[in-house]
């Protein structure tokens, strides 16, 4: 049983912002898609199938928007699929598209993920009263903050580790022209003194709400050979889910995340992630999730993730740069955020990350999660093709 190697030959994203009032929904996805096609020097006609992903439709007020977007994405007469796996959807979308190429069902597939959450109201969409449950919280931060507290208690980490992450990611974003937040005057002090929203998570340690889209062209070996620039090659990809709430769930380091990473590493032949992976784009919507995911993904031993952050290892010029793009903390169109992680990982190994390029990045991990930390999708890409 042989799978077709999958290459990413085109990557595009929008200029992310709190509200992109200059484009319609169609305009937003086309902006990213056209950039990806241009990057690959392809036209709409070269795309055989489109896989589109986004989070709940309440965020834009349009149900099953792929039907309306069919025209804008040039899909008349083509297959079109809409993936929805909560926050991990951007990643899942890329993996579904990759499967179409790997299974040789299609040769060139366009993967698109987006969210135009300013059109409706993301806070409202995330806080719709759950029937029969007592309304206690609004927004996602309050849901995750107690788990951050549990992590701090478990590990004995200093209370300020999270602020280091926020400061780093927002500074990295200054080198990413597409990022939403460009906080030119940010200092560690401004982060540390920002209002506490859900103790222990501060305002500056919280992801923004953004409008944005991301697109990638995935193709086979023949497509990669025709591509104008070096592709990123897929070496491993996996999805894992666990129930939202269950007895014995580890909220701090969910097993689904660990299992997902293990599967990806196994596929890619990685046995020592810290040494073998050059850069990681991890889904960090609240600062403390960087040290938590470092442990969950095997970059650090259990209880030690915060030490990598504190030591500066995850800085752009550190031993294991994390989120050189600025990450979810700087840009968060919910449906696209996962794909942005996957795309930024691919940009790194293609050497096309511009000012936030990590020198000599040959292997990169893209990571996405969603739900109550229960849906995970990850991929590992490299500068050279996988050994088949």
């Amino acid at each position: 049983m042989s799978r077709e190697p999958v290459a990413v030959t085109g990557i595009g994203q929008t200029h992310h912002a709190a509200a992109r009032r200059d484009v319609s929904l169609a305009g937003l996805v086309r902006e990213a898609a056209l950039r990806a096609l241009e990057d690959a020097e392809l036209t709409w006609a070269d795309v055989e199938a489109v896989v589109i992903g986004k989070a709940p439709d309440f965020f834009e007020g349009v149900m099953t928007p792929e039907l309306y977007l069919a025209d804008a994405l040039g899909t008349a007469g083509k297959p079109l699929t809409r993936v929805h796996t909560a926050g991990s959807v951007g990643g899942s979308t890329a993996l579904v598209a990759a499967d179409l190429v790997a299974a040789r069902v299609h040769r060139t597939v366009l993967a698109v993920a987006f969210e135009k959450q300013s059109e409706s109201n993301a806070m409202w969409g995330l806080s719709l009263p759950v029937p029969f449950q007592q309304p206690l919280l609004a927004g996602a931060g309050g849901f995750f903050a107690p788990h951050v507290r549990a992590y701090i208690r478990r590990t004995g980490a200093p209370g300020t580790t999270g602020t280091l992450v926020a400061y780093k990611d927002r500074r990295n974003a200054l080198k990413n022209p597409y990022a939403h937040l460009h906080e030119h005057d940010i200092t560690l002090e401004t982060v540390r003194s920002s209002p506490m929203l859900w103790d222990p998570v501060r305002y500056s340690e919280t992801c923004p709400s953004s409008d944005g889209a991301c697109a990638m062209v995935l193709t086979d070996r023949a497509g990669a050979a025709r591509a104008p620039a070096p592709p990123a090659w897929l070496h491993g990809g996996a999805m894992r889910s666990e129930p939202t709430l269950f007895a014995g769930k580890d909220f701090v380091s969910p097993r689904a995340g660990r299992d997902c990473a293990a599967d990806v590493y196994r596929q890619a032949g990685v046995t020592d992630p810290r040494r073998e992976i050059d850069v990681a784009e991890l889904y960090v919507p609240f600062s403390w999730y960087e040290p938590m995911w470092l442990e969950n993904l095997g970059f650090a031993a259990e209880g030690e993730g915060w030490k990598l952050t504190e030591a500066g290892a995850t800085e752009l010029d550190g031993a294991l740069p994390v989120n050189p793009s600025g990450g979810v903390l700087s840009t968060n169109p919910i449906g696209a955020s996962g794909m942005l992680r996957f795309a930024e990982a691919a940009l790194q190994v293609r050497g096309r990350a511009g000012e936030h390029q990590v020198p000599d990045a040959r292997r990169a991990l893209g990571h996405a999660y969603g739900g109550g930390a229960q849906f995970f999708s990850m991929w590992l890409v490299a500068a050279s093709p996988p050994v088949t």
Partner: protein, 221 residues
Amino acid sequence: MLVRLDGADTALLHALDAPHAGAVRTGMRVRVRWADRREGAITDIACFEPYDGPVTHEAVPHDGSFPDPVTSLAAPARLEYTYTAGRAQTRYLDGLARREVLGERCPSCRKVYVPPRGACPTCGVATTEPAAPGPRGTVTTFCVVNIKAKGLDIDVPYVYAHIALDGADLALHARIGGIPYDQVRMGMRVEPVWTGDGRHPDHYRPTGEPDADYDTYRRLL
């Protein structure tokens, strides 16, 4: 109906104001009836109406620019839904009405779920065996909420906590009251407080017992 405007190659969907169904036939001529107030939306065309006239118009070039282009439109939408609690949740809600917090035990893994959901999420089997955890429990973790959410009638700051009732195998979520927010700690022992005719306990308050040892609840984190 679908109408192909003179000079167009494709048809537009809109409404037609016709005296009765019999007055409508494919091929009939119609024209726009504009809305009195126009806001830059498809509804600026109030509808179409029958019009007995020949084709007089051809498509003419337009450069696509307008003196004040429409850049957004507000499209309010209201949908009503009726939600079903399901058997397990209904039992739970009925219990709450009696000021009891009821759970369910999975026949396979024997874990007690509160609130119950009718299915054990790890085993994928129906949970029908009733269990009565609590009423007291332990705060496993929490956060202090400082932003008042629209529509939530709770003053900030308040403590949003995970509470593992005695006998339950996972924590439920509730507000802590009856203690200054900065004195709440992991391991604190609490009990429910019902007020008025609220469906759920209004909050959980300290029982005054010594805090639970970290090892007794760390697996619930």
